[in-house]
Amino acid sequence: MLRCAKALPIMTDRPMSFQRMILTLHDYWSDRGCLILQPYDMEMGAGTFHTATTLRALGPKPWNAAFVQPCRRPTDGRYGENPNRLQHYYQYQVILKPSPADLQELYLGSLAAIGIDFTKHDIRFVEDDWESPTLGAWGLGWEVWCDGMEVTQFTYFQQMGGFDMKPVAGELTYGLERLAMYIQDKDSVYDLAFNDAGVTYGEVFHENEVEMSTWNFEVADTDSLFDSFRKHVAECENSLAAGLPIPAYEQAIKASHVFNLLQARGVISVAERQAYMGRVRDLAKGSCQAWIEKHTPAWQEAYPGWTA
C-alpha cells in the first residue's frame, strides 16, 4: 500500500523486540540521511531538551538527526506498580530541518519498517498543538494514533526559545515503550521483550522504577535540591556572562530537572510553581538567545539575507 515502505530486514513471526525496534528505526533514519546521535548524558524531561533539537533547531543550517533520549519525569513514577506509567522511559526523536515535503510519508514508512500493517491498523493524525513553556517553544502538528493509541508526537516547530524558526523544523517523537507494547501485544511495559534472547523490560528497569520512585517522592533531600536549583541558576548566568551558550543551556536543563524533583517531593506550592517555571524559561531562552547571537554572523555569511 504505502510506496515508500521498504522491505524489512528481518521478518520473523515473532514481533520485534524493544532493542530491535530501536535498531530498525536507526537504520531507517540513517538510510534517509539522518545523523544517528546518542542520548544526551543529562537528566531531561523530554527528547526535545537535547541540544540536537533545541539549539540545532535554531538558525538556517540544515540539520537532520535521530536519537534515543531517556526521559525522566519524577512525578510520573508509580513504584513499578502501574503497567503504563514510568518515571524513566525512552523517546525516539527525529529532527529534520527544514521540514521535508514528504515528512508524513517518511514517518509512515518508519512505522511500516517496525512492522505496522496499514491494512489492519488505523493510523490517524489528530490535532495536537505542542507547547513547551519551559523552552519558550511551540509548534503545530498532531498526535499520531494507531488504533486509538497515541504513538507519536508530530510537530512542526514554529518557535524555539522565543525565536521564530527560520526555517521550520519537523520533529517526530515516538513513545518507544508504547509502540513496543503495541507491536508485541503486551498489557504491561514490564512484560516487553527487551531483546530477542528472553530478557524483559521488567528485568532491566523494574527495580530502577521502584527505587527511583521512592527516592523521587520520599527521600530526595529537599534542602539540597533547593540549593542545587539556586546553584544551577547562578551557574547558568555565569556561563551566559562568559559567552558560553552550551554550558548555560546545560545548567538550564539541570535546573529544570531539579525543579521536577522538587515538584515530586511536593514542596513547591501552586503559587510558587509559576515563578519557578518562569525562572527556568528565562534561563533556557537566555541560552537560546546567546546561541543565536554567537552564530548569527557565520549564518549570515553562509546564508545572505538571513536574519534571526
Binding site: S99, K120, D122, F125, Y156, K166, P167
Partner: protein
C-alpha cells in the same frame, strides 16, 4: 455556463476547524468573484481531513463587456481644452463621438476570461485565508513571508470546465491531479471536471461530503450498537469530530471489562469521549453498557478485529487510571481532602481555596438564617432561568419580603448573629436551622474534590465527583446534590439550581467570588473577564429569578464583601504580636529596655493598622456599590435577550432603593407594558416636557417616597427638597389667584393619583401603579395646551412650577422617566 472546481489539499486539517473553513472558503470565493462582477448560481463546499474543496456552478466563461463613456468638452471649445481631453483619454479627435455638440470618449472594455479572474483570485484567497491558527513549513520558511496554511499545503486542483486554471503558490502548481485515501488509494487520481470530483474520490475511498460521512457514522454506530442489543448514546459533537477525522469512516463496536462500570458513568463517558472520541452505549435498562464505538478510517482486511482490540486496550488503560483515581479518592473522607485546600491559592490577593470555603460556608448559612433562601415551596413563575418574571397581572407573589428596605448603605453586616429576617414560627425555625446546617455542611465540602485524583485528571468533573464522594460517605442527599450542582448554572441553557441547599451554596459561592474580586479591584474590563465574574453574576441572577428569591441584593453583597478583607487587615496585628513574642523569647527576658522598645513598636504598628482599617472600610463600602451596579449591568444584558429594554431597567434602578431583583423586574415589566400603550407614550411626553421646564427653571427633584429609602446619604445630598429651596413652592397653600380649570384639574388628578400609585407600589402591584399614573395623562395634556407656566405674575409661575414638580415626583414613584428613551 461552466462549473469550477477548487481543491486545496493539505496535511491533516484539525477536525474542529473544517466547518468554519468551508464557510470562509465560500465567503472569500464569492467576494473575489463579485470584484469582477461575477456570481455563481450555486456554491458547494466540502472538507475532509486532507482537503478543502469548492464547486462553483454556472459561471460565465467571460465577464460582461463594459462600455465606459467619458464626457469631454463642447465641440466648439477652444483647441487647448480638446488637447487636454485627448491627452487624458489617450485617444485622437477622430475616435471621439459627438452628441448634441458635446464630445465623448467611448472606451469599450471587452469581457475578461473568467479563467483569468480565477487564476488571480485563487492565490489571493489562499494568502488571505483566515485560519484560526496557521503555520509555516519547509525550505521556504527561512523568511517569515513564506505562505501560512493550517498545515503544509500539498496540492491544488483548479478546473474551470475541463481546463486547468494555472496557479502557482509556494512552489505548488495547480493541476487536475489529487490523491485518494491515504492507505486505500495513495496513488494519483486525475479529475476531469467538477461533476466527477465527488464520485471519482468515492471510488478511491474518500467520502468528500462531510454530511455524508456524518450520516455514515451515525447510522453505522447506531446499527453496531443495536446489533449488540444496545442503544447508542447520541452525541452530535462526536459525530462532527469523527467525520472530521476520517475520509472513509467505519464505526466499530468494542467491549470493555464490565468491572470498570463501578466507576461513575460520567467518568467513563468523559474518558471515552474526550480522550478517545468514542461513543458509549446504554443497555435495555438505560444504564451505561460495557461497550464503546470507535470510528476507524479504513476498511480493515480483518474486518477491524485488530483495530477494535487495540482501541479496547487503550480504553482499558484509561479506565484503569480512572478507576484507580476513583477508588483512591473514595478512601479519603472529603473533610480530609478539604484540609488540603489551604495549599491551593485561590487568587494571590484573596488567599487560598480553604479561605474561600470558610467564607462561602458562612455566607451560605447567613443566606438561610436571613430567610433569603428558604425551603418554602416556591410559587410557580412562568419560564425557567431566563428571568421571564411577571405573572401577567404584573403582581408578584405574596411572599413576605425578608429584608424590609432599610439601612442599606454598604455598611458592615454581622454574619455571626442569628437570623431575624422573616417572621418565625417555631416550626419554621426548626426547618430553617436544619437547612442552615445542611447548607453550611455542603459549603464546607463543596471544593474538596478539587484535590482529588479524579478532578486533577478531569477538571471538568469538579462538583460531580464531590457529589459522588459525598454520597459514598453517607452525607445527606441534599448535601451531596448541593456539592454536585453548586457550580450551576455554568452558562446559558444550563440547569438552574432550585433545591434550597444547592441554591444557598451556589449563591454564596458566586456572591463571594464576585464581591471578593471587586473588593480587591479585579473587576472585568471590556473584553477581559479572567475570573468569569460576568458569568457568575448571570448565574446569581438566573437562580434568583427562577427561584423567585426575594432579598435585598445590597445586603447580600455587603455581607459577602465584608467577610474577608478585615481579617486580612487584622492579621498583621496578630503577626506583629507573634513576632514580638518571638523576639521576647529570643532576647534575655530581663532586657527590659528592649521590651519597652518593641512594645512601643508594636503599638505603633497597631495604630497604623487601625488607620488602614478605616481606609479599607471606605474602600469596601465603595466596592459594595460597584458590585451592585455590576449586577444591574448584567441584569440589563440578560434581560435584553428576553426583550426587556435596558433603559427601563435603568429607569427603575435609578430610583436607588430597588435592589430586590424579583421586584425590580416585575416593576420593569409593568413599566414596559405601560410605555407601550398610548397612555404611556403620552405620559412620557408630558413628563419630559414638565421635567424640561423644571430643569430650565432650576427646580431640583423632590425626594420621592422610595428615593428617601434608597442608597442613603449619597442620594439625599444630591436632591434638595423643594421646601428648603429659595422659593417656597408648597402646592398645598391656598392660591392667591384663581387657577385655570386645567390647573385645578391637574391638581385634583394628582391628589388621587399620588396616593393610589404609592399604595399600589407598597403592595407591589405595579400594574395598578401604572394605571394610577395613566390617569394623569389627560390632565397633563390639557394643562400644557391651555396653561402658560411662565406667567409674568410670580405667584402663578411658582404655583404652576410646583404643580409640574408634583407630576415629576408622582412619576418618580414608579420609575425615573428621565432615563427612558424616546
Amino acid at each position: 455556463m461552466t462549473d469550477f472546481l477548487l481543491e486545496l489539499r493539505s496535511e491533516e486539517i484539525p477536525a474542529r476547524m473544517q466547518d468554519r473553513a468551508r464557510e470562509d472558503l465560500a465567503k472569500q470565493f464569492a467576494a473575489e468573484l463579485a470584484k469582477a462582477g461575477l456570481a455563481a448560481t450555486e456554491l458547494v463546499t466540502y472538507a475532509t481531513p486532507r482537503r478543502l474543496a469548492l464547486i462553483a456552478r454556472g459561471l460565465p466563461t467571460e465577464t460582461a463587456a463594459v462600455s465606459e463613456e467619458t464626457k469631454g468638452p463642447k465641440a466648439s471649445a477652444p483647441p487647448q481644452a480638446l488637447e487636454g481631453f485627448l491627452r487624458k483619454t489617450g485617444l485622437t479627435r477622430e475616435q471621439l463621438v459627438e452628441r448634441d455638440g458635446v464630445l465623448f470618449a467611448v472606451v469599450d472594455k471587452p469581457g475578461r476570461a473568467t479563467a483569468g479572474v480565477l487564476a488571480e483570485a485563487i492565490p489571493a484567497m489562499i494568502r488571505a485565508f483566515p485560519w484560526p491558527k496557521a503555520m509555516r513549513w519547509g525550505g521556504a520558511s527561512t523568511t517569515m513571508e513564506s505562505l501560512r496554511w493550517v498545515r503544509p499545503l500539498q496540492g491544488i486542483v483548479a478546473l474551470f470546465g475541463e481546463e486547468i486554471v494555472p496557479v502557482e503558490i509556494a512552489g505548488i502548481t495547480s493541476g487536475a491531479a489529487t490523491v485518494g485515501h491515504r492507505f486505500h488509494h495513495p496513488g494519483i487520481i486525475t479529475i476531469g471536471w467538477a461533476d466527477d470530483y465527488v464520485e471519482k474520490l468515492r471510488a478511491c475511498h474518500v467520502i468528500v461530503d462531510q454530511a455524508e460521512r456524518r450520516q455514515i457514522i451515525a447510522l453505522g454506530a447506531t446499527m453496531a450498537a443495536r446489533k449488540a442489543g444496545l442503544e447508542l448514546v447520541q452525541d452530535e459533537g462526536l459525530l462532527t469530530e469523527n467525520a472530521g477525522l476520517t475520509e472513509w469512516p467505519v464505526p466499530l463496536l468494542g467491549r470493555f471489562d464490565a468491572a470498570f462500570l463501578s466507576v461513575p458513568p460520567e467518568v467513563i463517558q468523559l474518558t471515552a469521549r474526550v480522550n478517545q472520541k468514542y461513543f458509549v452505549c446504554r443497555d435495555a435498562d438505560g444504564a451505561l453498557a460495557d461497550a464503546f464505538v470507535c470510528t476507524a478510517n479504513i476498511d480493515a482486511v480483518d474486518g477491524g478485529a485488530k483495530i477494535v482490540e487495540g482501541n479496547r486496550k487503550v480504553l482499558a488503560a484509561r479506565l484503569s487510571d480512572a478507576k484507580f483515581f476513583y477508588e483512591t479518592d473514595l478512601k479519603v473522607p472529603l473533610e480530609a481532602q478539604a484540609e488540603k485546600l489551604d495549599r491551593i491559592v485561590f487568587h494571590e490577593k484573596l488567599g487560598t481555596v480553604a479561605d474561600k470555603v470558610a467564607r462561602v460556608a458562612k455566607l451560605a448559612r447567613w443566606l438561610v438564617e436571613e430567610g433569603i433562601v428558604s425551603s418554602k415551596p416556591l410559587p410557580f413563575r412562568g419560564g425557567v432561568g431566563g428571568g421571564a418574571v411577571p405573572a401577567s397581572d404584573g403582581q408578584i407573589a405574596e411572599l413576605p419580603h425578608p429584608n424590609p428596605v432599610a439601612g442599606r448603605s454598604g455598611s458592615q453586616p454581622d454574619l455571626n448573629r442569628a437570623g431575624r429576617g422573616s417572621p418565625a414560627t417555631p416550626e419554621g425555625e426548626g426547618l430553617k436551622e436544619e437547612l442552615a446546617n445542611l447548607a453550611h455542611r455542603a459549603a464546607l465540602l463543596c471544593k474538596a474534590d478539587l484535590v482529588t485524583g479524579m478532578v486533577g485528571e478531569f477538571p471538568e468533573l469538579q462538583g460531580l465527583m464531590g457529589g459522588y464522594y459525598a454520597a459514598a460517605q453517607g452525607e445527606d442527599p441534599r448535601v451531596a446534590a448541593a456539592i454536585r450542582d453548586h457550580y450551576k448554572p455554568v452558562g446559558q441553557g444550563d440547569d438552574v439550581p432550585t433545591d434550597p441547599v444547592t441554591v444557598a451554596v451556589s449563591l454564596a459561592d458566586k456572591l463571594d467570588t464576585i464581591a471578593a474580586f471587586f473588593a480587591v479591584g479585579e473587576k472585568p474590563t471590556g473584553s477581559k473577564d479572567p475570573f468569569a465574574l460576568r458569568r457568575a453574576a448571570l448565574g446569581v441572577i438566573s437562580t434568583v429569578l427562577t427561584g423567585n428569591i426575594r432579598f435585598a441584593l445590597n445586603d447580600a453583597v455587603a455581607a459577602a464583601t465584608w467577610q474577608w478583607p478585615m481579617a486580612s487587615v487584622r492579621n498583621p496585628v496578630g503577626r506583629a504580636a507573634e513576632r514580638f513574642d518571638e523576639l521576647r523569647r529570643l532576647l534575655n527576658p530581663d532586657a527590659k529596655a528592649a521590651e519597652t522598645f518593641f512594645r512601643a513598636e508594636l503599638e505603633a504598628a497597631a495604630e497604623e493598622v487601625e488607620q488602614d482599617e478605616i481606609k479599607v472600610s471606605e474602600r469596601l463600602a465603595k466596592s459594595v456599590v460597584a458590585t451592585v451596579d455590576f449586577f444591574a449591568d448584567r441584569l440589563k444584558v440578560q434581560q435584553r435577550e428576553a426583550g426587556v429594554r435596558h433603559d427601563l431597567i435603568d429607569a427603575v434602578f435609578a430610583l436607588g432603593g430597588e435592589d430586590d431583583l424579583v421586584r425590580l423586574l416585575a416593576r420593569v415589566h409593568a413599566l414596559q407594558k405601560f410605555i407601550g400603550t398610548e397612555d404611556g407614550t403620552n405620559l412620557l411626553a408630558g413628563y419630559k416636557r414638565a421635567a424640561n421646564i423644571l430643569k430650565k427653571e432650576g427646580v431640583p427633584s423632590s425626594p420621592s417616597p422610595l428615593r428617601g429609602e434608597g442608597r442613603g446619604e449619597g442620594d439625599a445630598s444630591t436632591s434638595v427638597p423643594l421646601e428648603t429651596a429659595a422659593q417656597p413652592l408648597s402646592p398645598q397653600k391656598a392660591l392667591s389667584y384663581t387657577p385655570e380649570p386645567a390647573e385645578t384639574a391637574l391638581a385634583t388628578a394628582l391628589d388621587s393619583a399620588e396616593p393610589a400609585a404609592t399604595a399600589a407600589i407598597a403592595r407591589e402591584d405595579f400594574e395598578a401603579a401604572m394605571a394610577a399614573l395613566a390617569s394623569l395623562r389627560a390632565p397633563i395634556d390639557t394643562f400644557f395646551e391651555t396653561v402658560i407656566v411662565n406667567d409674568p405674575v410670580p405667584e402663578k409661575r411658582t404655583a404652576r412650577l410646583a404643580l409640574l414638580d408634583r407630576v415629576r415626583a408622582a412619576v418618580h414613584n414608579v420609575a425615573d422617566f428621565s432615563r427612558i428613551e424616546g
